[in-house]
Symmetry: C2
Subunit: 268 residues, 2 copies
Protein backbone atom coordinates (compact mmCIF):
# COMPACT_ATOMS: atom_id res chain seq x y z
CA UNK A 1 0.00 0.00 0.00
CA UNK A 2 1.32 3.41 -0.95
CA UNK A 3 0.17 6.78 0.21
CA UNK A 4 -2.25 8.85 -1.83
CA UNK A 5 -2.66 11.85 0.43
CA UNK A 6 -1.35 14.33 -2.10
CA UNK A 7 -3.93 13.34 -4.70
CA UNK A 8 -7.10 13.31 -2.63
CA UNK A 9 -7.94 16.90 -3.31
CA UNK A 10 -8.18 16.82 -7.11
CA UNK A 11 -11.74 16.47 -8.38
CA UNK A 12 -10.59 14.21 -11.20
CA UNK A 13 -9.38 11.81 -8.58
CA UNK A 14 -12.21 12.34 -6.09
CA UNK A 15 -15.14 12.06 -8.52
CA UNK A 16 -13.88 11.27 -12.03
CA UNK A 17 -14.56 14.96 -12.75
CA UNK A 18 -12.42 15.32 -15.86
CA UNK A 19 -11.60 14.03 -19.33
CA UNK A 20 -8.79 12.28 -21.17
CA UNK A 21 -7.52 11.54 -24.66
CA UNK A 22 -5.14 8.87 -25.89
CA UNK A 23 -3.45 9.95 -29.08
CA UNK A 24 -1.27 7.99 -31.48
CA UNK A 25 1.94 9.91 -32.20
CA UNK A 26 4.42 8.90 -34.89
CA UNK A 27 7.81 10.61 -34.83
CA UNK A 28 6.43 13.62 -33.02
CA UNK A 29 3.36 14.01 -35.23
CA UNK A 30 -0.09 13.28 -33.76
CA UNK A 31 -2.60 11.32 -35.83
CA UNK A 32 -6.21 12.60 -35.86
CA UNK A 33 -5.06 15.45 -33.61
CA UNK A 34 -7.90 17.78 -34.60
CA UNK A 35 -10.47 15.10 -33.81
CA UNK A 36 -8.95 14.53 -30.37
CA UNK A 37 -8.90 18.24 -29.58
CA UNK A 38 -12.48 18.61 -30.82
CA UNK A 39 -13.72 15.84 -28.52
CA UNK A 40 -11.79 17.29 -25.59
CA UNK A 41 -13.22 20.75 -26.24
CA UNK A 42 -16.75 19.35 -26.49
CA UNK A 43 -16.22 17.45 -23.25
CA UNK A 44 -15.01 20.59 -21.45
CA UNK A 45 -18.03 22.50 -22.72
CA UNK A 46 -20.47 19.80 -21.63
CA UNK A 47 -18.89 19.48 -18.18
CA UNK A 48 -18.67 23.26 -17.82
CA UNK A 49 -14.92 23.57 -17.39
CA UNK A 50 -12.44 25.74 -19.29
CA UNK A 51 -10.57 23.87 -22.02
CA UNK A 52 -6.76 23.82 -21.83
CA UNK A 53 -5.34 26.51 -24.10
CA UNK A 54 -4.61 25.20 -27.57
CA UNK A 55 -1.14 26.74 -27.58
CA UNK A 56 -0.24 24.57 -24.59
CA UNK A 57 -1.53 21.39 -26.23
CA UNK A 58 -0.18 21.75 -29.76
CA UNK A 59 3.51 21.36 -28.77
CA UNK A 60 2.92 18.09 -26.89
CA UNK A 61 3.19 15.57 -29.76
CA UNK A 62 6.57 16.98 -30.77
CA UNK A 63 7.71 16.53 -27.15
CA UNK A 64 7.14 12.76 -27.41
CA UNK A 65 10.04 10.41 -28.15
CA UNK A 66 10.65 9.33 -31.78
CA UNK A 67 8.88 6.27 -33.19
CA UNK A 68 5.36 5.23 -32.26
CA UNK A 69 4.06 6.64 -28.98
CA UNK A 70 0.73 6.94 -27.23
CA UNK A 71 0.24 10.39 -25.74
CA UNK A 72 -2.21 10.47 -22.85
CA UNK A 73 -3.68 13.85 -22.04
CA UNK A 74 -5.83 14.44 -18.93
CA UNK A 75 -7.84 17.49 -17.89
CA UNK A 76 -9.62 17.78 -14.53
CA UNK A 77 -11.74 20.42 -12.83
CA UNK A 78 -8.90 20.88 -10.33
CA UNK A 79 -9.52 21.32 -6.62
CA UNK A 80 -12.17 23.17 -4.69
CA UNK A 81 -15.92 23.27 -4.48
CA UNK A 82 -17.92 21.74 -1.65
CA UNK A 83 -18.30 18.02 -2.10
CA UNK A 84 -19.85 17.29 -5.48
CA UNK A 85 -20.57 20.99 -5.99
CA UNK A 86 -17.96 22.37 -8.40
CA UNK A 87 -16.30 25.70 -7.72
CA UNK A 88 -17.98 28.56 -9.56
CA UNK A 89 -14.71 29.39 -11.31
CA UNK A 90 -12.72 26.17 -11.51
CA UNK A 91 -8.98 26.17 -12.04
CA UNK A 92 -8.51 23.07 -14.19
CA UNK A 93 -5.45 20.88 -13.94
CA UNK A 94 -3.99 19.05 -16.84
CA UNK A 95 -1.18 16.64 -17.39
CA UNK A 96 0.19 14.29 -19.98
CA UNK A 97 2.35 11.24 -20.32
CA UNK A 98 3.70 9.32 -23.29
CA UNK A 99 4.67 5.68 -23.69
CA UNK A 100 6.11 3.63 -26.54
CA UNK A 101 3.46 1.70 -28.44
CA UNK A 102 3.51 -1.33 -30.76
CA UNK A 103 0.37 -2.29 -32.64
CA UNK A 104 -0.50 -5.94 -33.32
CA UNK A 105 -0.43 -6.56 -37.10
CA UNK A 106 -1.72 -10.09 -36.62
CA UNK A 107 -4.97 -8.63 -35.31
CA UNK A 108 -5.26 -6.35 -38.34
CA UNK A 109 -4.80 -9.13 -40.86
CA UNK A 110 -5.98 -12.35 -39.21
CA UNK A 111 -8.78 -10.78 -37.18
CA UNK A 112 -9.76 -11.27 -33.56
CA UNK A 113 -12.13 -13.11 -31.27
CA UNK A 114 -14.51 -10.99 -29.20
CA UNK A 115 -17.17 -11.75 -26.61
CA UNK A 116 -20.33 -10.15 -25.37
CA UNK A 117 -19.97 -8.75 -21.86
CA UNK A 118 -22.51 -9.54 -19.16
CA UNK A 119 -22.15 -6.00 -17.79
CA UNK A 120 -24.60 -3.52 -19.26
CA UNK A 121 -23.72 0.15 -19.40
CA UNK A 122 -25.94 2.61 -17.55
CA UNK A 123 -27.68 5.09 -19.85
CA UNK A 124 -26.48 8.64 -19.28
CA UNK A 125 -27.08 11.00 -22.20
CA UNK A 126 -25.32 13.83 -20.34
CA UNK A 127 -22.03 11.90 -20.50
CA UNK A 128 -22.56 9.74 -23.61
CA UNK A 129 -19.84 10.19 -26.20
CA UNK A 130 -17.35 11.81 -23.81
CA UNK A 131 -14.04 10.25 -22.80
CA UNK A 132 -14.48 11.22 -19.15
CA UNK A 133 -12.55 9.87 -16.17
CA UNK A 134 -15.47 7.99 -14.55
CA UNK A 135 -14.88 4.71 -16.40
CA UNK A 136 -15.38 2.11 -13.72
CA UNK A 137 -17.97 0.32 -15.86
CA UNK A 138 -15.32 -0.29 -18.52
CA UNK A 139 -12.98 -1.70 -15.88
CA UNK A 140 -15.66 -4.10 -14.64
CA UNK A 141 -16.47 -5.19 -18.19
CA UNK A 142 -12.79 -5.76 -19.00
CA UNK A 143 -12.48 -7.78 -15.81
CA UNK A 144 -14.95 -10.35 -17.12
CA UNK A 145 -12.30 -12.33 -19.02
CA UNK A 146 -8.58 -12.96 -18.83
CA UNK A 147 -8.16 -15.34 -21.77
CA UNK A 148 -5.76 -13.53 -24.11
CA UNK A 149 -7.40 -15.14 -27.13
CA UNK A 150 -10.31 -12.75 -26.54
CA UNK A 151 -9.24 -9.35 -27.85
CA UNK A 152 -12.25 -7.30 -26.85
CA UNK A 153 -15.62 -7.42 -25.11
CA UNK A 154 -18.77 -5.89 -26.58
CA UNK A 155 -21.11 -4.03 -24.25
CA UNK A 156 -24.83 -3.33 -24.42
CA UNK A 157 -26.65 -0.66 -22.44
CA UNK A 158 -29.18 -1.34 -19.70
CA UNK A 159 -31.92 -1.65 -22.35
CA UNK A 160 -29.96 -4.34 -24.19
CA UNK A 161 -28.82 -2.22 -27.14
CA UNK A 162 -25.28 -2.56 -28.51
CA UNK A 163 -22.96 0.34 -27.63
CA UNK A 164 -19.26 -0.41 -28.16
CA UNK A 165 -16.34 -2.57 -27.08
CA UNK A 166 -14.61 -1.83 -23.76
CA UNK A 167 -11.96 0.38 -25.43
CA UNK A 168 -12.96 0.40 -29.12
CA UNK A 169 -15.92 1.25 -31.28
CA UNK A 170 -17.90 -1.36 -33.19
CA UNK A 171 -18.77 -1.30 -36.89
CA UNK A 172 -20.40 -3.93 -39.05
CA UNK A 173 -21.66 -4.44 -42.60
CA UNK A 174 -25.38 -5.20 -42.88
CA UNK A 175 -27.12 -5.61 -46.24
CA UNK A 176 -24.15 -3.88 -47.84
CA UNK A 177 -24.26 -0.85 -45.51
CA UNK A 178 -21.84 0.04 -42.73
CA UNK A 179 -23.60 0.37 -39.37
CA UNK A 180 -22.41 1.41 -35.92
CA UNK A 181 -24.32 1.81 -32.63
CA UNK A 182 -25.83 5.14 -31.66
CA UNK A 183 -23.72 6.71 -28.89
CA UNK A 184 -26.35 9.07 -27.50
CA UNK A 185 -26.96 7.09 -24.27
CA UNK A 186 -23.58 5.56 -23.46
CA UNK A 187 -20.13 4.90 -24.93
CA UNK A 188 -17.28 6.99 -26.27
CA UNK A 189 -17.49 8.77 -29.62
CA UNK A 190 -14.22 7.49 -31.08
CA UNK A 191 -12.01 9.80 -33.08
CA UNK A 192 -11.29 7.12 -35.69
CA UNK A 193 -15.04 6.50 -35.95
CA UNK A 194 -15.58 10.21 -36.56
CA UNK A 195 -12.86 10.21 -39.22
CA UNK A 196 -14.35 7.12 -40.92
CA UNK A 197 -17.75 8.79 -40.89
CA UNK A 198 -16.28 11.64 -42.89
CA UNK A 199 -14.94 9.18 -45.48
CA UNK A 200 -17.95 6.91 -45.90
CA UNK A 201 -21.48 7.00 -44.46
CA UNK A 202 -21.89 5.04 -41.22
CA UNK A 203 -25.50 4.36 -40.33
CA UNK A 204 -26.07 4.99 -36.60
CA UNK A 205 -28.46 2.36 -35.28
CA UNK A 206 -30.06 1.29 -32.00
CA UNK A 207 -30.06 -2.51 -32.24
CA UNK A 208 -29.56 -5.63 -30.16
CA UNK A 209 -26.66 -8.06 -30.66
CA UNK A 210 -28.78 -10.20 -33.01
CA UNK A 211 -28.24 -7.55 -35.66
CA UNK A 212 -24.48 -7.99 -35.34
CA UNK A 213 -24.83 -11.77 -35.69
CA UNK A 214 -26.56 -11.21 -39.03
CA UNK A 215 -23.76 -8.98 -40.33
CA UNK A 216 -21.70 -9.81 -43.41
CA UNK A 217 -18.55 -8.56 -41.64
CA UNK A 218 -17.73 -6.79 -38.37
CA UNK A 219 -14.87 -4.81 -36.86
CA UNK A 220 -13.67 -3.15 -33.69
CA UNK A 221 -11.50 -0.08 -34.13
CA UNK A 222 -9.91 2.88 -32.43
CA UNK A 223 -7.39 5.60 -33.18
CA UNK A 224 -4.49 3.80 -31.47
CA UNK A 225 -4.94 0.16 -32.46
CA UNK A 226 -6.44 0.69 -35.92
CA UNK A 227 -9.01 -1.77 -37.30
CA UNK A 228 -9.42 -5.35 -36.12
CA UNK A 229 -11.82 -7.50 -38.15
CA UNK A 230 -13.91 -9.78 -35.94
CA UNK A 231 -13.32 -13.44 -36.75
CA UNK A 232 -15.29 -15.05 -33.92
CA UNK A 233 -18.12 -13.65 -31.76
CA UNK A 234 -18.76 -15.44 -28.46
CA UNK A 235 -21.44 -14.95 -25.85
CA UNK A 236 -20.64 -14.06 -22.22
CA UNK A 237 -20.26 -17.76 -21.39
CA UNK A 238 -17.80 -18.34 -24.22
CA UNK A 239 -20.09 -20.15 -26.68
CA UNK A 240 -19.53 -19.24 -30.34
CA UNK A 241 -22.38 -17.15 -31.74
CA UNK A 242 -20.90 -16.44 -35.15
CA UNK A 243 -17.76 -16.87 -37.23
CA UNK A 244 -16.72 -14.65 -40.13
CA UNK A 245 -14.11 -15.14 -42.83
CA UNK A 246 -11.62 -12.28 -42.70
CA UNK A 247 -11.03 -10.71 -46.12
CA UNK A 248 -7.44 -10.04 -47.13
CA UNK A 249 -8.46 -6.75 -48.75
CA UNK A 250 -10.53 -5.31 -45.95
CA UNK A 251 -12.42 -2.18 -47.12
CA UNK A 252 -12.71 -0.62 -43.64
CA UNK A 253 -8.99 -1.07 -43.01
CA UNK A 254 -8.37 0.43 -46.43
CA UNK A 255 -10.16 3.58 -45.30
CA UNK A 256 -8.90 3.74 -41.72
CA UNK A 257 -5.26 2.76 -41.80
CA UNK A 258 -4.05 5.55 -44.08
CA UNK A 259 -5.48 7.97 -41.49
CA UNK A 260 -3.21 6.40 -38.86
CA UNK A 261 -0.17 5.69 -41.04
CA UNK A 262 -0.76 1.96 -40.65
CA UNK A 263 -0.47 -0.46 -43.61
CA UNK A 264 -3.64 -1.39 -45.50
CA UNK A 265 -2.40 -4.87 -46.39
CA UNK A 266 0.02 -7.49 -45.05
CA UNK A 267 2.43 -6.91 -47.94
CA UNK A 268 3.00 -3.26 -47.21
CA UNK B 1 -3.28 25.20 -14.80
CA UNK B 2 -1.18 22.94 -12.63
CA UNK B 3 0.65 19.80 -13.55
CA UNK B 4 -0.86 16.40 -12.93
CA UNK B 5 1.84 14.18 -14.38
CA UNK B 6 2.54 12.39 -11.13
CA UNK B 7 -1.07 11.27 -10.75
CA UNK B 8 -1.81 9.97 -14.22
CA UNK B 9 -0.78 6.46 -13.46
CA UNK B 10 -3.13 5.64 -10.59
CA UNK B 11 -6.24 3.72 -11.70
CA UNK B 12 -8.38 5.64 -9.23
CA UNK B 13 -7.45 8.78 -11.09
CA UNK B 14 -7.46 7.29 -14.58
CA UNK B 15 -10.79 5.44 -14.38
CA UNK B 16 -12.46 6.07 -11.02
CA UNK B 17 -11.28 2.56 -10.13
CA UNK B 18 -11.58 2.81 -6.36
CA UNK B 19 -13.76 3.63 -3.38
CA UNK B 20 -14.07 6.23 -0.65
CA UNK B 21 -15.72 6.85 2.70
CA UNK B 22 -16.43 10.09 4.54
CA UNK B 23 -16.64 9.49 8.26
CA UNK B 24 -17.77 11.82 11.05
CA UNK B 25 -15.17 11.86 13.83
CA UNK B 26 -15.77 13.50 17.21
CA UNK B 27 -12.72 13.98 19.43
CA UNK B 28 -10.89 11.12 17.77
CA UNK B 29 -13.80 8.70 17.85
CA UNK B 30 -15.47 7.71 14.56
CA UNK B 31 -19.25 7.52 14.38
CA UNK B 32 -20.77 4.50 12.57
CA UNK B 33 -17.20 3.25 12.00
CA UNK B 34 -18.23 -0.39 11.60
CA UNK B 35 -20.83 0.54 8.99
CA UNK B 36 -18.23 2.51 7.01
CA UNK B 37 -15.72 -0.33 7.14
CA UNK B 38 -18.41 -2.83 6.14
CA UNK B 39 -19.37 -0.80 3.06
CA UNK B 40 -15.71 -0.34 2.13
CA UNK B 41 -15.06 -4.07 2.49
CA UNK B 42 -18.10 -4.91 0.38
CA UNK B 43 -16.96 -2.45 -2.27
CA UNK B 44 -13.49 -3.97 -2.38
CA UNK B 45 -15.01 -7.44 -2.72
CA UNK B 46 -17.34 -6.36 -5.53
CA UNK B 47 -14.56 -4.55 -7.43
CA UNK B 48 -12.15 -7.43 -6.87
CA UNK B 49 -9.46 -5.55 -4.99
CA UNK B 50 -7.86 -6.35 -1.62
CA UNK B 51 -9.32 -4.35 1.26
CA UNK B 52 -6.92 -2.19 3.29
CA UNK B 53 -5.87 -4.05 6.44
CA UNK B 54 -8.13 -3.27 9.34
CA UNK B 55 -5.17 -2.62 11.65
CA UNK B 56 -4.11 0.24 9.39
CA UNK B 57 -7.58 1.79 9.33
CA UNK B 58 -8.58 1.55 12.98
CA UNK B 59 -5.98 4.07 14.24
CA UNK B 60 -7.04 6.79 11.77
CA UNK B 61 -9.93 8.41 13.72
CA UNK B 62 -7.67 8.90 16.73
CA UNK B 63 -5.13 10.61 14.45
CA UNK B 64 -7.69 13.32 13.58
CA UNK B 65 -7.64 16.67 15.37
CA UNK B 66 -9.95 17.17 18.40
CA UNK B 67 -13.50 18.41 17.91
CA UNK B 68 -15.68 17.52 14.95
CA UNK B 69 -13.81 16.31 11.86
CA UNK B 70 -14.67 14.58 8.61
CA UNK B 71 -12.24 11.81 7.81
CA UNK B 72 -12.03 10.96 4.12
CA UNK B 73 -10.61 7.57 3.27
CA UNK B 74 -9.80 6.56 -0.31
CA UNK B 75 -8.76 3.17 -1.70
CA UNK B 76 -7.76 2.63 -5.32
CA UNK B 77 -6.63 -0.36 -7.38
CA UNK B 78 -3.22 1.29 -7.65
CA UNK B 79 -1.22 1.32 -10.88
CA UNK B 80 -0.71 -1.25 -13.56
CA UNK B 81 -2.81 -3.35 -15.87
CA UNK B 82 -3.24 -2.64 -19.58
CA UNK B 83 -5.77 0.10 -20.15
CA UNK B 84 -9.05 -0.81 -18.49
CA UNK B 85 -7.76 -4.32 -17.78
CA UNK B 86 -6.81 -4.48 -14.10
CA UNK B 87 -3.58 -6.14 -13.03
CA UNK B 88 -4.09 -9.77 -11.97
CA UNK B 89 -2.66 -8.99 -8.56
CA UNK B 90 -3.32 -5.32 -7.87
CA UNK B 91 -1.35 -3.37 -5.29
CA UNK B 92 -3.99 -1.00 -3.92
CA UNK B 93 -3.17 2.47 -2.79
CA UNK B 94 -4.97 4.21 -0.01
CA UNK B 95 -4.89 7.58 1.59
CA UNK B 96 -6.83 9.74 3.97
CA UNK B 97 -7.38 13.35 4.89
CA UNK B 98 -9.32 15.06 7.65
CA UNK B 99 -10.93 18.47 7.83
CA UNK B 100 -12.80 20.36 10.53
CA UNK B 101 -16.58 20.12 10.13
CA UNK B 102 -19.53 22.15 11.41
CA UNK B 103 -23.06 20.84 10.91
CA UNK B 104 -25.98 23.21 10.24
CA UNK B 105 -28.45 23.03 13.17
CA UNK B 106 -30.88 25.29 11.35
CA UNK B 107 -31.32 22.58 8.72
CA UNK B 108 -31.96 19.98 11.42
CA UNK B 109 -34.66 21.98 13.15
CA UNK B 110 -36.20 24.29 10.52
CA UNK B 111 -35.91 21.88 7.60
CA UNK B 112 -34.65 22.45 4.06
CA UNK B 113 -35.79 23.11 0.52
CA UNK B 114 -34.89 20.50 -2.08
CA UNK B 115 -35.45 20.19 -5.81
CA UNK B 116 -35.78 17.38 -8.29
CA UNK B 117 -32.77 17.13 -10.61
CA UNK B 118 -33.19 16.91 -14.38
CA UNK B 119 -30.26 14.50 -14.57
CA UNK B 120 -31.25 10.85 -14.31
CA UNK B 121 -28.78 8.31 -13.00
CA UNK B 122 -27.73 5.46 -15.25
CA UNK B 123 -28.76 2.05 -13.94
CA UNK B 124 -25.77 -0.07 -13.02
CA UNK B 125 -26.51 -2.90 -10.58
CA UNK B 126 -22.82 -3.88 -10.50
CA UNK B 127 -21.97 -0.55 -8.86
CA UNK B 128 -25.24 0.31 -7.11
CA UNK B 129 -24.84 0.91 -3.39
CA UNK B 130 -21.06 1.43 -3.54
CA UNK B 131 -19.31 4.70 -2.76
CA UNK B 132 -16.95 4.39 -5.72
CA UNK B 133 -14.81 7.13 -7.25
CA UNK B 134 -16.68 7.39 -10.58
CA UNK B 135 -19.20 10.00 -9.41
CA UNK B 136 -19.37 12.39 -12.34
CA UNK B 137 -23.16 12.01 -12.48
CA UNK B 138 -23.39 13.43 -8.96
CA UNK B 139 -21.23 16.39 -9.98
CA UNK B 140 -23.46 17.12 -12.98
CA UNK B 141 -26.59 16.86 -10.83
CA UNK B 142 -25.11 19.18 -8.19
CA UNK B 143 -24.22 21.62 -10.96
CA UNK B 144 -27.89 22.12 -11.81
CA UNK B 145 -28.44 24.79 -9.16
CA UNK B 146 -26.39 27.36 -7.30
CA UNK B 147 -29.10 28.95 -5.18
CA UNK B 148 -28.02 28.34 -1.58
CA UNK B 149 -31.62 28.17 -0.42
CA UNK B 150 -31.77 24.75 -2.13
CA UNK B 151 -30.01 22.31 0.21
CA UNK B 152 -30.16 19.19 -1.93
CA UNK B 153 -31.26 17.77 -5.28
CA UNK B 154 -33.21 14.52 -5.61
CA UNK B 155 -32.26 12.20 -8.44
CA UNK B 156 -34.25 9.56 -10.30
CA UNK B 157 -32.76 6.78 -12.41
CA UNK B 158 -33.10 6.49 -16.18
CA UNK B 159 -36.46 4.74 -15.70
CA UNK B 160 -37.78 7.64 -13.65
CA UNK B 161 -37.64 5.95 -10.23
CA UNK B 162 -36.45 7.89 -7.18
CA UNK B 163 -32.94 6.97 -5.98
CA UNK B 164 -31.42 9.49 -3.56
CA UNK B 165 -30.19 13.06 -3.17
CA UNK B 166 -26.82 14.05 -4.66
CA UNK B 167 -24.97 13.37 -1.40
CA UNK B 168 -27.67 12.09 0.96
CA UNK B 169 -30.26 9.35 1.16
CA UNK B 170 -33.98 10.03 1.02
CA UNK B 171 -36.61 8.78 3.48
CA UNK B 172 -40.31 9.61 3.77
CA UNK B 173 -43.37 8.64 5.74
CA UNK B 174 -46.21 7.18 3.65
CA UNK B 175 -49.42 5.91 5.25
CA UNK B 176 -47.61 5.78 8.58
CA UNK B 177 -44.67 3.73 7.26
CA UNK B 178 -41.11 4.87 6.61
CA UNK B 179 -40.08 4.28 3.00
CA UNK B 180 -36.80 4.77 1.13
CA UNK B 181 -35.85 4.05 -2.50
CA UNK B 182 -34.40 0.70 -3.50
CA UNK B 183 -30.66 1.12 -4.17
CA UNK B 184 -30.17 -1.96 -6.34
CA UNK B 185 -29.76 -0.05 -9.63
CA UNK B 186 -28.06 3.20 -8.63
CA UNK B 187 -27.18 5.31 -5.60
CA UNK B 188 -25.07 4.91 -2.50
CA UNK B 189 -26.14 2.70 0.39
CA UNK B 190 -25.69 5.24 3.18
CA UNK B 191 -24.24 4.16 6.50
CA UNK B 192 -26.76 6.22 8.45
CA UNK B 193 -29.54 4.64 6.38
CA UNK B 194 -28.19 1.20 7.29
CA UNK B 195 -28.06 2.16 10.96
CA UNK B 196 -31.62 3.53 10.84
CA UNK B 197 -32.77 0.33 9.19
CA UNK B 198 -31.46 -1.58 12.19
CA UNK B 199 -33.49 0.65 14.54
CA UNK B 200 -36.79 0.76 12.68
CA UNK B 201 -38.10 -0.97 9.55
CA UNK B 202 -37.54 1.06 6.36
CA UNK B 203 -39.62 -0.20 3.44
CA UNK B 204 -37.48 -0.29 0.25
CA UNK B 205 -39.61 0.82 -2.66
CA UNK B 206 -39.26 1.48 -6.41
CA UNK B 207 -41.48 4.51 -6.95
CA UNK B 208 -41.68 7.73 -8.92
CA UNK B 209 -41.53 11.20 -7.34
CA UNK B 210 -45.36 11.32 -7.11
CA UNK B 211 -45.09 8.95 -4.17
CA UNK B 212 -42.87 11.42 -2.34
CA UNK B 213 -45.34 14.23 -3.00
CA UNK B 214 -48.00 12.18 -1.23
CA UNK B 215 -45.83 11.63 1.84
CA UNK B 216 -46.80 12.82 5.32
CA UNK B 217 -43.19 13.88 5.97
CA UNK B 218 -39.83 13.53 4.18
CA UNK B 219 -36.14 13.77 5.03
CA UNK B 220 -32.67 13.68 3.50
CA UNK B 221 -29.94 12.29 5.72
CA UNK B 222 -26.37 11.08 5.84
CA UNK B 223 -23.79 10.09 8.41
CA UNK B 224 -22.02 13.47 8.36
CA UNK B 225 -24.86 16.01 8.19
CA UNK B 226 -27.46 14.06 10.18
CA UNK B 227 -31.17 14.40 9.33
CA UNK B 228 -32.69 17.34 7.46
CA UNK B 229 -36.51 17.40 7.29
CA UNK B 230 -37.75 18.53 3.87
CA UNK B 231 -39.86 21.66 4.13
CA UNK B 232 -40.29 22.45 0.43
CA UNK B 233 -40.02 20.20 -2.62
CA UNK B 234 -39.49 21.94 -5.97
CA UNK B 235 -39.33 20.58 -9.50
CA UNK B 236 -36.29 21.02 -11.74
CA UNK B 237 -37.60 24.40 -12.90
CA UNK B 238 -38.04 25.67 -9.35
CA UNK B 239 -41.83 25.41 -9.05
CA UNK B 240 -43.09 24.25 -5.65
CA UNK B 241 -44.49 20.72 -5.77
CA UNK B 242 -45.18 20.29 -2.07
CA UNK B 243 -44.69 21.94 1.31
CA UNK B 244 -44.53 20.14 4.63
CA UNK B 245 -44.75 21.43 8.19
CA UNK B 246 -41.61 20.49 10.07
CA UNK B 247 -42.35 18.86 13.42
CA UNK B 248 -40.37 20.07 16.41
CA UNK B 249 -40.13 16.51 17.76
CA UNK B 250 -38.99 14.76 14.61
CA UNK B 251 -39.11 10.97 15.08
CA UNK B 252 -36.42 10.21 12.46
CA UNK B 253 -34.04 12.72 13.98
CA UNK B 254 -34.82 11.18 17.35
CA UNK B 255 -33.54 7.85 16.04
CA UNK B 256 -30.63 9.11 13.97
CA UNK B 257 -28.98 11.87 15.94
CA UNK B 258 -28.04 9.81 18.99
CA UNK B 259 -26.11 7.56 16.57
CA UNK B 260 -24.06 10.60 15.49
CA UNK B 261 -23.85 12.41 18.82
CA UNK B 262 -26.03 15.22 17.47
CA UNK B 263 -28.87 16.75 19.51
CA UNK B 264 -32.39 15.42 19.00
CA UNK B 265 -34.05 18.76 19.74
CA UNK B 266 -33.21 22.48 19.58
CA UNK B 267 -33.10 22.71 23.37
CA UNK B 268 -30.34 20.16 23.81
Amino acid sequence: MQDLTLLLDDRGFAYGDGLFETVLVRDGRALLWEAHLARLAEGCARLGLPAPPRDRLDPLPAACAPGLQVLKLVVTRGSGGRGYRPPAEPTPRWGWSAAAFSPTPQRWFAGVEVRLCALRLGRQPRLAGLKHLARLENVLARQEWDDDIIAEGLMCDSEGYLVEATAMNLVWLHAGRLETPLLDQAGVAGTLLAALDAETPLQRVRVEPQRLQQAEAAWVCNSVQGVWPIRVLRDAEGAVLRRWDVASDDPLRGLAHPLLGYPVGPDA
